[in-house]
């Protein structure tokens, strides 16, 4: 797995360089950290290439800012530490803005809006409440707001933490856990796939207006301002809507 990751990373760095269309810049390439295991937002295909909504948005923003960008793949639970350690300059990995994360990093304006919602097998009735989920096993990805939400709102549910969202889905399909809580659109993508055919959303979204933004190291105000201007620009000129339509038949901004 380590070898795979390294190979994927090397390939990603080698092939994913986005050449800016504007005049050549003296600046160093902007290094963007992403997870590469979070379909449809960021994932690595069989050839080791990164793609997904986050990647398309990041490329559009780099083009808008006229900067050359390279991508770095980093496991999710080390993605903020990696930013702080200077391994890349920004995280474009569908990260939710939270008060705790704001202590560690600065965020740009949102580039999409997330909701959290449970999924479970179709043939099981689930009462999505603190009482209803008291003896249930819930899966979530480690270091996500979904995991945090369960800890804070369903203290009696048994929470299982996974390294990647994909592993959580494997365990839901295997029947080891009763339900998964995750970003609604990530769940949506999985429910649409063959693997998710026997599963469905349960209850209403439990958390709405979860803002997804780009994280940068603290005090990097110029970069935040550049990103914000670029986000406004691609929303304005329709580039964002085009990318959105590639992945979802409804707006997620």
């Amino acid at each position: 797995m380590i070898g795979l990751r390294t190979t994927a990373l090397a390939l990603a760095v080698a092939t994913m360089t986005v050449v800016s269309t504007g005049a050549a810049q003296a600046e160093d390439p902007l290094r963007i950290g992403t997870e590469g295991a979070y379909p449809p937002f960021n994932m690595v295909d069989e050839d080791g290439n990164l793609h997904g909504f986050d990647i398309d948005v990041a490329k559009a923003l780099c083009e808008e800012m006229e900067r050359e960008c390279t991508f770095v793949i980093q496991d999710w639970d080390g993605i903020i530490p990696g930013l702080l350690a200077g391994k890349y300059d920004a995280i474009v990995a569908s990260m939710s803005v939270t008060e705790e994360r704001k202590q560690a990093v600065d965020f740009t304006n949102k580039y999409w809006t997330n909701k959290l919602q449970f999924i479970a097998p179709k043939d099981v009735d689930l009462d999505i409440s603190a009482e209803g989920m008291a003896d249930k096993t819930v899966g979530a990805q480690r270091a996500t707001i979904s995991a945090q939400w369960v800890e804070e709102n369903m203290p009696d549910a048994e929470l299982k933490l996974y390294d990647t969202q994909e592993n959580a889905y494997l365990d839901l399909a295997a029947g080891r856990i009763d339900a998964i809580i995750a970003d609604m659109l990530v769940n949506y993508e999985w429910l649409e796939s063959d693997a998710g055919a026997d599963f469905e959303f349960k209850g209403e979204p439990v958390f709405e207006n979860d803002l997804i933004a780009i994280a940068v190291r603290k005090g990097n105000e110029d970069l935040v301002a550049d990103f914000n201007a670029a986000i406004d620009a691609i929303v304005e000129d329709g580039t964002y809507a085009e990318i959105n339509a590639k992945y979802f038949p409804f707006s997620i901004y």
Binding site: G78, E100, A143, N167, A174, G175
Partner: protein, 240 residues
């Protein structure tokens, strides 16, 4: 460096360390049980007897522990008959037992190989002497070869135990909150990987230190006959 963060993380990390110790000792126990017949068979001169343990050891030494863990945890659960089996699924649906089974199979292969080496290192003269005294092969194995091999293999076994302690960190990839899993979960909240992993590393080192001392003590005890007796004269009780 923030010492307060390290201290704040300590209770959670100790909770994780307790799970790490369970994984280590339970899998170590079953691994040893498995390794004894495997090691004896592996040391046999008959190809028919040693073929199976050879294949087993070849597989478990030839593939990464992480791959083995994923095969047991995510792999076996893909099969309908495993999920519907009333015997297999209660065990295999639990990440705790998946980890213990995998670790026991893995360490069992290594211990079997250590045991094979140790059995073959037992001096021939001692085996011949036992046979000359009229001991059967089984008695010779039980009374002479195995006790001698255990003594010869002990240092290598201690090394394997320490390797397994660190290998057990992979349990964190299958949702278990062992010392490493707990450290990663704590970091998800405090964003202090340096302090938290340092603290976790310190706990691993303390566990290793205690293991090393305990093994040295056992080695010392089982090699009493190799040391000069106090007073020097053999067979004479010291008169004080």
């Amino acid at each position: 460096m923030n010492v307060d963060v390290m201290i704040a993380a300590l209770p959670k990390l100790l909770e994780g360390a307790w799970l790490t110790l369970q994984l280590l000792f339970i899998s170590g126990f079953f691994g040893l049980l498995l390794a004894i017949p495997l090691g004896i068979a592996r040391a046999s001169r008959s190809i028919a007897v040693k073929a199976l343990p050879f294949a087993y050891i070849f597989f478990f030494r030839g593939t990464p522990l992480l791959v083995q863990l994923f095969l047991v945890y995510y792999g076996l659960s893909q099969f309908e008959f495993v999920r519907e089996s009333p015997i297999l699924w209660p065990v295999l649906s639990d990440p705790y037992w998946c980890a213990i089974i995998t670790f026991a199979l893995h360490t069992g292969a290594y211990i079997a190989e250590i045991l094979r080496g140790a059995i073959q290192a037992v001096p021939h003269g001692e085996v011949e002497a036992a046979r000359a005294l009229g001991m059967s092969r089984a008695t010779t194995t039980l009374r002479i070869v195995l006790p001698r091999a255990a003594r010869i293999g002990l240092p290598a076994y201690g090394n394997e135990l320490i390797l397994m302690l660190k290998g057990s960190a992979l349990a964190s990839t299958i949702t278990l909150l062992d010392l490493t899993g707990m450290a990663r979960t704590v970091i998800a909240r405090n964003y202090m990987p340096l302090e938290t992993f340092l603290m976790a590393g310190l706990i691993y080192m303390i566990i290793t230190f205690v293991l090393v001392r305990a093994l040295r003590f056992i080695e010392h005890r089982v090699s009493a006959h190799m040391r000069a007796r106090p007073g020097g004269a053999v067979g004479v009780e010291p008169t004080g």
